[in-house]
C-alpha cells in the first residue's frame, strides 16, 4: 500500500497551494464569524448599523471631571435635557453592575466633583445596553453645568474624540475675555424677550465672572425693570394664547355641529326604502376612498392624515354595511310576517316605516358616544362622512356650499390617475403648503391628541427641544428628510425652557411629557405656574370628549416642598412660543417688533 508522503517528502512547490488555501479559509471564517455575531446579537443591531458606530465609551470620573472616582461609568449619551450625560455604573469589562441604573452626570463649576441624579430613562440593565448600542455620544457638546444647591454654574464645552473617546473640557468665556475669543457667541436678550426672576440665577457669581456683561445688561435696577416689562408683556401674550386655544376648540365644535345638522337634513324625511340605496352608495364610495388613500403616490394630505382618514373611511363603510344589514333583516322579517298574517295590509305600518326593533338597531349603529354628544369627535365625523358619501354628486355639491369643515384633497394614484375628492374633517387639516399658521391656531392644533397625529407629535417636540438646546438634530429618531426640514422650520417658533436648570413656566407655555422609549406622550398648555410648589394649572384636551379639560395644581415634581432638592418628574420638558412672528407661525396682531435676536443654539431659557 502506498504510504502517504510526509511533509518533508512533499516538495516546497506543492505545499504552497495548501498554505494559501488554509489562509483563505481562516480569513473567510473570521469574516463570517464577525458578520454572524454582528447580525445576530440578541437585540437589534439594525439601529446600530443605521444610526451609530456602536462603540461603547468607558470613562472614569477621574478622567472626566478630575478628583475621586466612584468607579467607571458607561456613558450612554447625552441625557437630552441639557444637563450632561447619562451613564450607568459598570465593571472593568463594561457590563452594567446595577439593575437600578442610569444616572445623570452633572458637571459643576470646579469639575472636581459631579452631581448625580436619577433619571428614569431606564432601570433595567438590558435596556441600558440597548440604548448604549443605539446612542453613541455626540463628538462635541456644549453644556451648562449648575449646582442645584448653590445655583452656581459655569458654561463649558465638552469634546469627545470619536477615535479614542478622550474627553476634554473647555470652560467658556469669562468676564475679561471677548465673547468671540473661543468662537462661542454669547446669548443676548431679544427685545421684549424673556428674563426670569431677578436675573440672579442667570448670572452666576462665580470667581472670574463678577461684573461681566456676558451680553446681558448690568445687574441691578435695569434688570428688574426689564424683567417686569418683559414678564408682563409675555404673560399677557401667554394668556391670549390660552384663551385663543380654547376658543378655537369651541368654534370647531360649533362648526362641526352645524355641518352635522345640514347633512342630517337630507336624510330626515327620507323613506326607509331609499335609505338602503344611500347606504349602499356610501359603502362603495368610502371603500374606494380608503383604497385610494393607500395607493396614492402624491397627495395634498400628508402621510399621517392619509392614515387617519383611511381608518375613518373604513369605519364609516363598515357602519354603512351594518345599516344595510339591519334594513335587509327588517325587510325580510316584514315580508315573512306579511305572508303569515291575515292582517298583512296593516302590518309594517305602510310604506316608509320601520319596526321599533329595527329602528333601535339602526340607532345603535349610528349613534355617537354614550353620554357625549360632542360633534367634533371621531365617531361624529364617521357619521358625517357616511351621510355625505351616500348623497348623489348634485346633493354633495349643494351640501358643500354650506359645510364649514371641509377641504379639497388632491390625490395622485400610483397608476397616474388623479383622484381628487372633498374631505370632511374635525378641523386642523393642514395641506402640504399650509406650513405657516396663525400662532393661536398653531397652539390650538397642538393640544388635541388626534390633531397632533397629523401635525407634530410629542416625539417631534422632543426633537425640537433637543435641537434648540444642542444645535443638532437628534438621531435617533430617524426622520424622513422632508419631515426633518419641516421640524427645523417649526423649531423657529419656539424657545426651549430648561426646567431642570431653573427656568420657570409662564402662561401660554407648552408643557410636554415624553419618555424616549415609550409611545406615550402628552401636551398641556400652562395656565398658571406656582414656582414655590412646582405645580401648574394646565389646559388639556381630551380626544374622547372633544372638549377642554383643566387640571389644577399639576405637580412637576414627586418630591415634597420641604425637600432640599426637588427633581423634575422624568419626561417633562417645556417649549415657549416666541413672542414675535417667525417661520413657524405668524401673529395676527404683529406690531412689527424687531425679530428676536438670533439665539445661539446652545442657549437655554
Amino acid at each position: 500500500m502506498k504510504q502517504p508522503r510526509t511533509k518533508k517528502q512533499i516538495p516546497e512547490r506543492d505545499r504552497r497551494p495548501v498554505r494559501v488555501r488554509s489562509l483563505f479559509v481562516s480569513v473567510f471564517f473570521a469574516v463570517l464569524s464577525v458578520a454572524s455575531v454582528a447580525l445576530s446579537n440578541g437585540f437589534q443591531l439594525t439601529p446600530v448599523d443605521k444610526w451609530g458606530k456602536g462603540k461603547i465609551v468607558i470613562a472614569r470620573h477621574g478622567k472626566l471631571v478630575g478628583g475621586e472616582s466612584e468607579g467607571p461609568v458607561l456613558l450612554t449619551g447625552d441625557d437630552r435635557r441639557g444637563n450632561g450625560w447619562t451613564g450607568i455604573p459598570v465593571d472593568e469589562k463594561g457590563n452594567p453592575t446595577s439593575s437600578d441604573s442610569n444616572q445623570t452626570v452633572v458637571l459643576n463649576k470646579d469639575y472636581n466633583k459631579y452631581l448625580v441624579e436619577r433619571s428614569a430613562i431606564t432601570t433595567n440593565a438590558d435596556q441600558a445596553r440597548m440604548m448604549i448600542q443605539s446612542r453613541p455620544p455626540a463628538p462635541t457638546m456644549e453644556r451648562r453645568s449648575r449646582d442645584h444647591r448653590t445655583g452656581q454654574g459655569q458654561d463649558c464645552r465638552v469634546e469627545i474624540n470619536p477615535d479614542d473617546f478622550k474627553v476634554t473640557i473647555h470652560p467658556l468665556a469669562g468676564a475679561s475675555e471677548s465673547p468671540a475669543a473661543d468662537g462661542h457667541s454669547v446669548p443676548t436678550a431679544p427685545p421684549g424677550g424673556i428674563i426670569h426672576g431677578n436675573g440672579s440665577d442667570r448670572f452666576p457669581a462665580s470667581a472670574g465672572n463678577s461684573g461681566r456683561a456676558n451680553g446681558f445688561p448690568a445687574r441691578g435696577d435695569v434688570i428688574d425693570t426689564l424683567s417686569s416689562a418683559a414678564e408682563i408683556s409675555n404673560r399677557a401674550r401667554g394668556i391670549n394664547l390660552v384663551e385663543a386655544a380654547t376658543a378655537t376648540r369651541r368654534i370647531i365644535e360649533s362648526n362641526a355641529r352645524s355641518d352635522q345638522n345640514r347633512l342630517a337634513d337630507a336624510y330626515r324625511s327620507m323613506p326607509i326604502q331609499q335609505v338602503s340605496g344611500f347606504l349602499s352608495q356610501a359603502q362603495k364610495s368610502l371603500e374606494d376612498l380608503a383604497s385610494n388613500l393607500e395607493s396614492t403616490d402624491a397627495s395634498s394630505l400628508d402621510r399621517s392624515d392619509r392614515a387617519r382618514f383611511r381608518n375613518l373611511f373604513l369605519n364609516a363603510a363598515d357602519k354603512a354595511k351594518f345599516g344595510l344589514g339591519e334594513l335587509e333583516k327588517e325587510r325580510a322579517e316584514s315580508e315573512a310576517l306579511k305572508q303569515n298574517s291575515p292582517f298583512s295590509n296593516l302590518l309594517g305600518g305602510g310604506a316608509g316605516s320601520m319596526s321599533n326593533s329595527g329602528r333601535r338597531a339602526l340607532e345603535d349603529i349610528f349613534k355617537q358616544s354614550e353620554g357625549d354628544d360632542q360633534a367634533n369627535t371621531n365617531d361624529a365625523l364617521v357619521n358625517r362622512l357616511l351621510m355625505f358619501n351616500g348623497l348623489s354628486p348634485e346633493q354633495q355639491r349643494a351640501a358643500l356650499s354650506k359645510i364649514n369643515l371641509k377641504d379639497r384633497v388632491k390625490l395622485k394614484l400610483k397608476n397616474g390617475k388623479q383622484a381628487d375628492f372633498d374631505l370632511l374633517h374635525n378641523g386642523y387639516i393642514f395641506g402640504g403648503s399650509k406650513t405657516s399658521l396663525d400662532c393661536s391656531s398653531f397652539v390650538s392644533s397642538i393640544l388635541p391628541p388626534d390633531a397632533r397625529k397629523g401635525r407634530f407629535t410629542t416625539m417631534d417636540f422632543l426633537a425640537i427641544w433637543d435641537y434648540l438646546i444642542s444645535g443638532k438634530f437628534p438621531v435617533p429618531p430617524v426622520y424622513e428628510k422632508k419631515r426633518a426640514a419641516a421640524l427645523r422650520e417649526a423649531a423657529d417658533a419656539f424657545l426651549p425652557l430648561d426646567l431642570k436648570l431653573g427656568a420657570e413656566l409662564a402662561p401660554g407655555d407648552l408643557l410636554v411629557y415624553r419618555i424616549d422609549n415609550d409611545p406615550a406622550g402628552h401636551v398641556f398648555i400652562v395656565k398658571k405656574y406656582y414656582p414655590d410648589r412646582m405645580t401648574a394649572d394646565l389646559i388639556d384636551m381630551s380626544q374622547t370628549a372633544g372638549s377642554v379639560v383643566e387640571r389644577s395644581q399639576f405637580p412637576l415634581t414627586l418630591m415634597p416642598v420641604s425637600s432640599g432638592k426637588r427633581f423634575l418628574k422624568p419626561g417633562l420638558f417645556a417649549l415657549r412660543l416666541k413672542p414675535v412672528s417667525n417661520k413657524g407661525c405668524q401673529y395676527k396682531d404683529d406690531q412689527k417688533r424687531e425679530p428676536a435676536a438670533a439665539m445661539p443654539k446652545g442657549a437655554a431659557w
Binding site: L32, R306, N311, P449, D450, K453, Q543
Partner: protein, 174 residues
C-alpha cells in the same frame, strides 16, 4: 485533499446558512394589496371566548385602528374602559401571538390572556422611527364577563400603547 475540499465546501455552506438566518428580514414590500388583512369594525360583541375578544382587539390594533380610529362603539362593546386610547405614536411589530393560560383561573368570570409582540421600533404616522427598548413587548389582558360578554378590563386605555404590525398597517414607517 478531496476530503479537505469537501470539508471546506460543507463548512462554507453551513456558515452562509447561519449568516442568512441571522440576517434581518428584508424590508416588507410597499405593494400591499389594498385593504386586505385589515381587521374591519365589529360593533356587536358576539365572541364566546375571552381570547377571541383579545384577538379582535389586537387585530384592530395591528391594522392601526387603536392608534387612530378606535370607535366608541367598540370601546363599549369590547372593554370596560371609560376613556379612549390617546396615543400619537405606536410600537411597530413584526408579529404577535396570544398565549392562553394552561388552566382556567379560580373565578370563571375572569380571564387572563397574554400577548407577546416582536417589536421592531417605535414610530408615528409621518414615517419617523425610533429604536424600541426591548425586542419583545408583553401585554397581559385581564377580561371580565359582563352581561354574558367578555370585555377587556385592563390594561387601561391610558396605559395600553398601540402596536401596529408592519404587514397590516401600510403607513407604518419602514
Amino acid at each position: 485533499m478531496v476530503i479537505r475540499t469537501l470539508s471546506f465546501i460543507l463548512l462554507a455552506a453551513a456558515s452562509l446558512a447561519a449568516v442568512t438566518l441571522a440576517a434581518p428580514a428584508p424590508a416588507h414590500s410597499r405593494e400591499i394589496a389594498s385593504l386586505e388583512g385589515i381587521q374591519r369594525l365589529k360593533i356587536d360583541n358576539d365572541f364566546e371566548k375571552p381570547e377571541d375578544v383579545v384577538q379582535y382587539y389586537c387585530a384592530r390594533d395591528a391594522s392601526g385602528f387603536v392608534w387612530s380610529g378606535f370607535m366608541d362603539l367598540e370601546r363599549v362593546a369590547f372593554t370596560t374602559w371609560q376613556t379612549m386610547p390617546q396615543f400619537e405614536t405606536f410600537y411597530i411589530a413584526r408579529d404577535y401571538r396570544l398565549i392562553k393560560p394552561d388552566q382556567p383561573g379560580p373565578d370563571p368570570r375572569f380571564a387572563e390572556i397574554d400577548v407577546v409582540y416582536d417589536i421592531v421600533a417605535i414610530g408615528d404616522g409621518h414615517g419617523t422611527r425610533m429604536p424600541a427598548p426591548n425586542p419583545q413587548h408583553r401585554v397581559t389582558y385581564n377580561l371580565k364577563l359582563v352581561g354574558g360578554r367578555w370585555k377587556i378590563v385592563s390594561p387601561s386605555a391610558n396605559s395600553l400603547s398601540p402596536v401596529v404590525v408592519e404587514s397590516k398597517f401600510f403607513f407604518a414607517p419602514r
